[in-house]
Symmetry: C2
Subunit: 135 residues, 2 copies
DNA sequence: CTAAATCCGACTAAATTAGTAAGGTATTAA
DNA sequence: TTAATACCTTACTAATTTAGTCGGATTTAG
């Protein structure tokens, strides 16, 4: 039930882009050094976020990444969904009929719904307001 | 953000014990064959749940496992906490001061709180009422 | 005594994670 | 036009985690 390092980096990078909003694209290098993330690794992550449609890229000199939508329209849920594959903790296959109790599915489904709803309602702009080191 | 197979087995086993409540201890073999879980693996899981205090064991012939408390007092949150180590998706160490933004921590903390609260409020007796294959 | 069961620790194969590395492609400043 | 910048893509690797397996010791009812 942990978010992977990869996803944590992704969230941090997105917050970084939100902070940078209205300021042109931010390059991998900038974000990576600013957040202490390995550059080559972040590159992969950003590519995935781009394919997911929540960031756009500009190639060439002075290029970089920027949010596709404003921080107030970009939810953490989307970020996690893109990077984590799915928020679903269940793995219900077609052989559900063989399972002696599908109540487990129900539990896992409730967990999923709860997580999804929580994350989908946290937007990047809120996070910018949060003070640093508040813990 | 997935619950591991191990934890899913644990939840299923606990539901199985809840169903068996007031009926003496259930053996690993019974549970394992009933739920389609590898016996030796389930043995490990049950031992962990016992050390966690939510089930008790009876050794020897006719022995097995039983819930420490009634199904209405046993929450899924406890099961997951014991097996998954912690519900916390964050890994905030003492070097938090080096992090350029702790807002990530805040997000992860909110996620954690949400999951914990959800799971802590799902009790085994509720799950017994859920119809099989309801999906 | 012995069969049924928990208990315990060590071991292993497969999958996942967290990166590295290297080279290609597009864009633009000069 | 060319050089520099920065994205893009794929392949590889070491370390960790996961999902088990296995062998044997201990406990207990009959």
């Amino acid at each position: 039930m942990k978010v992977s390092q990869r996803t944590e980096y992704g969230i941090r990078a997105m917050i970084s882009l939100a902070r940078h909003y209205d300021n042109g694209p931010a390059s991998i290098k900038e974000i990576a050094t600013g957040e202490g993330i390995p550059g080559a690794f972040l590159e992969q992550i950003m590519a995935e976020l781009r394919r997911g449609g929540i960031v756009e890229s500009q190639r060439g000199v002075n290029g970089g990444y920027m949010l596709s939508n404003s921080p107030s329209e970009t939810s953490v849920g989307t970020v996690v969904e893109i990077l984590e594959g799915s928020l679903s903790p269940a793995r219900c296959e077609s052989d559900c009929s063989k399972m002696p109790d599908c109540s487990t599915r129900t539990v896992l489904k409730r967990i999923e719904e709860s997580i999804t709803e929580t994350l989908d309602n946290i937007y990047l702009d809120e996070l910018l307001k949060v003070g640093v080191h508040e813990q």
